[in-house]
């Protein structure tokens, strides 16, 4: 989610509530012997407020599972997720009185810190990476179907080359074919099978020679020079296919960065909610 003007009121409300709770905490901290603790009624109220914020933030995942429910737009939930999650930080710190607490509380605080920082990290990535992806990979595909896009790309190129090269396309490197005279179709087909086919595979290596745009451009330019005028549009199509495959590589890299942090953020958020509930039950009972 991009932080834009639509977040203005959310940010303002969060800041106001954070300042108000800070003032309340200051008054509270002055009034209790031995300093603020989670066990006082003031501390517990901070805890309840913080837990409510965290729970609301955690409900985003539940909201996604029932997109048809008319309980606010996904955008609103995501904004709430961000700002309520951030508001929970001072509230939880006020609840624990800036102390580590016991073993469970320490685990909770560490988990909470990782969740918050991973969330901020993810939010920061989302401000940069989607634009970077649009710039660097205009030929981006649906992420889960990148391998299908690669396969389709390879098939389309092969169909095109078979149409142009004819029978020689299928076996351009056989001894019989090599023994015959030079033919641009065979040159084209040989280039494809020797270099391009492997690059267009969905499981192609990023270390492939054609991943380097300069090298790819040089080789395709030389091929273009060696074929007659009639075949040059075909070479240009091969060049476009190379570019597209390279963009798909970039897209996957950016996609990993854009979604990798969620593998930390989401499971630890679940852990936080489970342990938090345990903490609440034991604390309220005793």
């Amino acid at each position: 989610m991009i932080l834009d003007r639509s977040h203005y009121y959310w940010a303002l409300a969060t800041l106001s509530m954070a300042l108000a709770s800070t003032a309340l905490f200051w008054i509270y901290a002055q009034s209790v012997p031995n300093g603020p603790r989670g066990g006082t009624w003031q501390g517990m109220l901070f805890g309840v407020a913080g837990t409510a914020c965290m729970t609301y933030a955690g409900l985003l995942a539940g909201r996604k599972t029932v997109p048809k429910w008319r309980v606010g737009t996904a955008q609103t939930w995501l904004r709430g997720h961000i700002w309520m999650g951030l508001l929970s930080v001072p509230l939880i710190l006020f609840h624990c009185g800036f102390r580590w607490g016991g073993s469970l509380e320490q685990v909770l605080l560490v988990t909470f810190a990782i969740v918050v920082f991973s969330g901020i990290y993810g939010l920061a990535l989302q401000q940069v990476l989607p634009r970077l992806m649009s710039t660097n990979a205009p030929a981006q595909a649906i992420a889960p179907q990148v391998h299908i896009a690669c396969e389709k790309l390879r098939q389309s190129i092969e169909v095109r080359l078979q149409k142009v090269c004819g029978a020689v396309f299928l076996d351009p490197l056989s001894p019989v074919a090599v023994h015959n005279e030079y033919s641009p179709e065979r040159e084209l087909a040989a280039f494809y099978w020797e270099q391009l086919a492997g690059f267009l595979e969905s499981d192609a290596s990023r270390q492939h020679d054609l991943s380097n745009p300069t090298l790819a451009s040089a080789r395709l330019s030389r091929l273009k020079e060696s074929v007659p005028e009639a075949l040059r549009p075909v070479v240009e199509e091969l060049q476009l296919a190379c570019d597209e495959r390279r963009q798909l590589f970039s897209q996957m890299t950016i996609h990993h960065w854009l979604h990798g942090w969620l593998c930390v953020h989401v499971p630890l958020s679940i852990t936080l909610l489970v342990l938090g509930m345990l903490h609440v039950i034991m604390s309220v009972y005793y």
């Binding site: 179907q145 034991m282 005793y286």
Partner: protein, 545 residues
């Protein structure tokens, strides 16, 4: 170059059955979430089923570590935190006083407990002096405070789960909650009740002059009987004669023609606790150099006048027939002339009437003859048996039949500043003279040798203990001496010099005796015995129809 994708149909690039292709990141995320959720529940099971230590907000104090595995060992009221939050009342605790007293059987003596507001407690006169408070506010205040302390309970001040801190380490705020505001509610004012930290602590009552602090009349403080003001300084009212100057002479002559340099600890020896000093006794601290009696009386015990009279009578009766040998002087001092024999009919038993003149003469020597004021020079020790009672005590003649003389009790307090507590052993790094000076102010740095052999006129006004020639000097420190080290801020558990209320003051005044505090071992023993009895009772119960 035109983007050829635009020329392609979507179908040519993707599989339109999107749901068949789940994002691997999403799959990984879901699996990790399930694993983490289940993992956290499984990891918490041992804690839920038995060992509750992980749920503590912080570990309990060291003394309570044996109970910490099960919350219910102390928390006998459930859902109290919820009630605390709903009622906005932090005085509700999930641990009842009853639970505390399972082990802590000593009574919860506080400022206002009926058993402590007796004759001995400093607040007793204040609380029971209803006649001095005509407007009836006393009763209301007393009831309110009693209700407050009762509601507060043990856990009100002794807050657990603060790490390894001692529970007795109570924060100042618990005290200052009342002591910073009660000055408007209590009349007449007996104590300073308008300060909240050591920096604002008033001068010790011992040193408060009525003229300087008119709002807190020092004369009404329990301590003043020990001292009276001569206009400038308090005068120790102890009925004793003693010169620290004389006894701290670095060349103090002792019997045998030798000299010794006594230090404070030669007489003031710490008690077993190390906090204070054991009371000074004649036998332990004086007798080595000052044997009570004269050659004419023989050595006498440091005892009551009537016992002394009995001993003297006994000795007179035993030697009625002839010359009594002079008492041996261990140091070979000049032999006194033998006491003239009392001419008594040897056939008759000596009666009190016949011995009385001689007895009175000896008693006069012991109880009435004042020791000549010593000169400024060092005394010469000629013999041990040269000390009468009047060397140290004040005496007066009585008309009683059993005793003719009475020694005025010295009225030396076992502890000065009875509202406070002090640990001398924790101040052993500081010289005694640094705190104990003649007027409570800071010590001057004149070396000890300057005061001897003769106390020059210029040094007589010195605050040093070496210039103290009289027992009337009050040698207790003022608060300014404490503030040289204390009062610069400290927090519970910190290593800085303490300046909190509990560092010097006690709330529970009753000492913990072995009778009142049975100890953990006895409780455990009782618990084991109880379990054994229960086991024995089980088969019997089972066999019953």
């Amino acid at each position: 170059m035109a983007d050829p994708r635009r020329l392609k149909s979507i179908a040519s690039r993707y599989d339109l059955e999107v749901t068949r292709h789940r994002d691997p990141w999403l799959t990984l995320r879901s699996r990790l979430s399930y694993i983490f959720a289940l993992g956290s529940i499984v990891a918490c099971l041992p804690w839920l089923l038995g060992d509750h230590r992980a749920f503590q907000s912080r570990c309990v104090s060291d003394a309570h570590r044996v109970f910490e595995q099960n919350c219910q060992n102390c928390h006998d009221r459930s859902l109290v935190p919820l009630r605390r939050m709903m009622t906005f009342d932090n005085t509700i605790h999930s641990t009842s006083d009853k639970k505390c007293r399972v082990c802590h059987r000593e009574s919860n003596e506080d400022h206002l407990s009926p058993s402590i507001t007796g004759e001995t407690h400093p607040l007793s006169k204040w609380l029971d002096g209803a006649d001095e408070i005509s407007d009836g506010r006393y009763e209301a205040l007393k009831q309110r405070l009693q209700a407050h302390f009762s509601e507060l309970g043990c856990a009100g001040c002794h807050q657990e789960h603060r790490g390894h801190l001692q529970l007795a380490d109570v924060a100042d705020a618990h005290c200052s909650k009342c002591h910073s505001t009660a000055h408007d509610q209590v009349s007449p004012r007996r104590f300073e009740l308008n300060f909240s930290e050591f920096g604002h602590h008033p001068e010790f009552a011992l040193w408060r002059n009525r003229d300087q602090t008119p709002t807190v009349p020092a004369v009404e403080h329990p301590n003043p009987p020990l001292v009276k003001w001569d206009g400038v300084n308090p005068v120790d009212q102890a009925a004793i004669k003693f010169s620290h100057h004389r006894h701290l002479d670095p060349q103090l002559p002792i019997p045998g023609g030798k000299t010794v340099a006594l230090g404070c600890v030669d007489c003031h020896q710490s008690d077993p606790s190390g906090a204070y000093f054991r009371p000074l006794t004649f036998e332990q601290d004086c007798q080595r150099c000052h044997k009570l009696g004269f050659p004419s009386t023989g050595e006498l015990p440091h005892s009551k006048p009537e016992i002394i009279r009995g001993i003297l009578l006994d000795r007179l009766a035993k030697h009625r027939d002839g010359k009594r040998p002079a008492a041996a002087d261990e140091l070979g001092g000049p032999t006194k002339a033998p006491i003239p024999a009392i001419k008594i009919n040897s056939d008759a038993q000596p009666s009190l009437a016949t011995l009385k003149p001689e007895l009175e003469k000896l008693e006069q020597q012991l109880f009435a003859v004042l020791h000549p004021k010593t000169s400024n020079e060092r005394p010469r020790v000629t013999g041990l048996l040269e000390a009468a009672c009047t060397k140290c005590h004040f005496t007066e003649r009585t008309d009683g039949a059993g005793e003719a003389w009475k020694v005025i009790p010295p009225r030396m307090p076992a502890q000065w500043m009875s509202h406070s507590r002090f640990r001398h052993d924790r101040h052993s790094s500081v010289d005694c003279q640094a705190c104990h000076t003649r007027n409570g102010h800071r010590m001057d740095t004149v070396p000890r040798e300057q005061f001897y052999p003769v106390l020059k006129d210029g040094w007589k006004e010195s605050v040093s203990i070496y210039a103290s020639e009289s027992a009337q000097d009050v040698l207790m420190p003022r608060i300014e001496i404490c503030r040289q080290c204390h009062g610069h801020g400290s927090t519970p558990g910190s290593r800085s010099v303490g300046d909190r209320c509990v560092d010097c003051h006690a709330y529970h005044h009753t000492p913990m005796t072995s009778e009142s505090r049975p100890g953990i071992a006895e409780l455990l023993k009782a618990g084991r015995q109880g379990r054994r009895d229960a086991k024995r009772a089980e088969p019997a119960t089972g066999a019953a129809p």
